[in-house]
C-alpha cells in the first residue's frame, strides 16, 4: 500500500512536469495511465484494479485539466486496469515489456477516440495524434521501468 502511494505521488508530479514543461508540440505522455497499468499488473484482483482505474480517472480529471470532455480518463483507466489485472504472474515475468506497451497503446487509443468526439469517422488525423502520444508515453515508460526497476517491484508485489 505504501509503495502504491509513493508511486502515485511520483506519477502526479511527473504528469505535472510533462504536461506543463516537457510537452512536445502539445503532445505529452500519459503518466497516470502508466501508473494504472503497472499497479494493475501487480494486482490480481480485477474488481479492485477496475475500481482503482475508475477512481483515479475521476479524481485525476478533477485535479488535472484534461480538456472539455469529462469522464474519458475514468473510462480508459477502468478498461485498462481490468485487462491489465487479468495478466498472470507468469506472463508478466516473461513478457513484461510487451504487456505494458500493449496496454499503453490500448489506453491511448481509447482516450484519443473519445477525446476527438468520434472525429475518426470523418478524418483519420486523430490516429496521428494518438500515435505521437503513444510513442512519447512508451518512451517515458521505458525510462521509468529501467530507472525504478518496476518489473522486479511488480513481480515482488504479485508474490
Amino acid at each position: 500500500m505504501k509503495d502504491y502511494v509513493k508511486y502515485l505521488i511520483i506519477s502526479i508530479l511527473l504528469q505535472l512536469l510533462f504536461s506543463e514543461l516537457i510537452s512536445i508540440n502539445g503532445v505529452q505522455p500519459n503518466i497516470l495511465l502508466l501508473f494504472i497499468i503497472f499497479s494493475s499488473l501487480s494486482i490480481s484482483n480485477a474488481t479492485l484494479s477496475t475500481l482503482l482505474g475508475f477512481s483515479l480517472g475521476f479524481v485525476g480529471e478533477l485535479i488535472f485539466y484534461s480538456g472539455t470532455i469529462f469522464g474519458i480518463s475514468s473510462l480508459t483507466f477502468s478498461v485498462v486496469g481490468f485487462f491489465a489485472s487479468k495478466v498472470s504472474n507468469n506472463f508478466v515475468y516473461r513478457n513484461f515489456d510487451f504487456y505494458w506497451i500493449i496496454f499503453s497503446i490500448l489506453g491511448i487509443f481509447i482516450f484519443s477516440f473519445f477525446k476527438y468526439e468520434f472525429y475518426v469517422f470523418s478524418n483519420l488525423k486523430f490516429i496521428l495524434g494518438a500515435i505521437y502520444m503513444a510513442m512519447y508515453t512508451i518512451f517515458v515508460g521505458f525510462i521509468l521501468v529501467r530507472l525504478l526497476s518496476l518489473k522486479n517491484e511488480i513481480l515482488n508485489a504479485q508474490n
Partner: protein, 262 residues
C-alpha cells in the same frame, strides 16, 4: 436468491467493469451540462496551486528570450503606430463625414495559462482569469499576434479557452483588401482553411485574414492569419484558402482576453 449471489460472485469482475463503463459514459454524456462544467472548473480552480511552480519555471526559462522578442516587436510597433495615428485621425474625420457608426473598442486583460491539460492535443487550455476579473463565456482570446480562441466556461478564478485547433471550432473571417467572407476551421499545427469563399472573389497569397463582422462572438478586425494557398473546392463552386495563423498555438504562455464579445 442464492443463485443471484452466486452469479454476482462469479461475474463480480465483469459486472464492476460494466458499471464503471456505464458510469463513465454517463459522465461523458453529461460533460456539457452547466452543473458538471462548474463543478469541474471549481475543482480545477482549487487545485491550480499545483501548477504554479511549474508555470513559474516555464515563465522564467523563456523570460530573457521573450524580452528580446518583445523589445524588437515594440520598436516595430512604435513605428507602425505613428503611421496609424495619422491614418486614424483621417479615418475618423471621413467616417464622421459620411455619418458611419462609431466602431466599438475592446479592453483586454492578460492571463497566464494554468494548464494545457494532460494528454491534450491543445484543443483547449485553462487560464487564470475568471468571472471575478469580468470574464464571461464567448469572450475572444488572443495572443500578442492574433486570435487563438474563445472562452467556453468560467469559474471565479479560472476560465476554459477553446482554441482554434479544436476540431469543432468555426469562425467567420474576412480576407483583406476586398473583405471577402469565409468560414475558418483548423487543419493542423498552425494551419487553417477558410471555406465557403465565393469562387469569383479576388484573393491573393499573403492577403491578411481578420475576424469578420458576421462572427457572432468575435469583434471585427482582429488579426487571424495570412493566406498561403488558394484551391478550388471539390465541387468547383467555391474556393478554399489555406491560412497560416499569426499565433503559434504550441508556444503560448500568456493570452489576452477581450472583455467584451460582439
Amino acid at each position: 436468491m442464492l443463485n443471484s449471489f452466486k452469479f454476482l460472485k462469479n461475474y463480480k469482475d465483469n459486472l464492476t467493469l460494466a458499471i464503471c463503463i456505464l458510469l463513465s459514459f454517463l459522465l461523458i454524456s453529461q460533460s456539457n451540462k452547466e452543473f458538471f462544467n462548474n463543478f469541474r472548473l471549481k475543482s480545477l480552480d482549487f487545485f491550480s496551486f499545483l501548477y504554479s511552480p511549474f508555470n513559474w519555471i516555464d515563465n522564467q526559462s523563456f523570460l530573457i528570450k521573450r524580452l528580446e522578442v518583445l523589445s524588437q516587436e515594440n520598436l516595430k510597433l512604435n513605428l507602425e503606430l505613428n503611421l496609424l495615428k495619422n491614418q486614424d485621425s483621417e479615418n475618423a474625420r471621413l467616417r464622421d463625414f459620411v455619418q458611419l457608426k462609431e466602431k466599438v473598442s475592446i479592453d483586454f486583460i492578460g492571463a497566464d495559462i494554468l494548464s494545457r491539460g494532460f494528454s491534450s492535443n491543445l484543443s483547449s487550455v485553462l487560464v487564470d482569469r475568471g468571472s471575478i476579473d469580468g470574464v464571461k463565456v464567448n469572450f475572444p482570446v488572443m495572443s500578442s499576434k492574433g486570435i487563438i480562441g474563445k472562452v467556453i466556461s468560467v469559474s471565479d478564478n479560472a476560465s476554459e479557452v477553446q482554441l482554434i485547433s479544436d476540431v469543432n471550432f468555426r469562425m467567420s473571417v474576412k480576407i483583406l483588401p476586398d473583405e471577402v467572407e469565409g468560414i475558418l476551421r483548423w487543419v493542423n499545427d498552425d494551419y487553417c482553411e477558410v471555406f465557403e469563399v465565393k469562387r469569383t472573389s479576388e484573393v491573393k497569397i499573403q492577403d491578411i485574414v481578420l475576424s469578420s463582422n458576421l462572427s457572432p462572438f468575435f469583434p471585427e478586425d482582429l488579426p487571424v492569419g495570412q493566406v498561403i494557398g488558394i484551391y478550388d473546392s471539390t465541387d468547383k463552386t467555391s474556393k478554399i484558402l489555406r491560412i497560416k495563423l499569426f499565433s503559434d498555438l504550441t508556444r503560448i504562455n500568456q493570452v489576452f482576453i477581450g472583455l467584451k464579445n460582439k
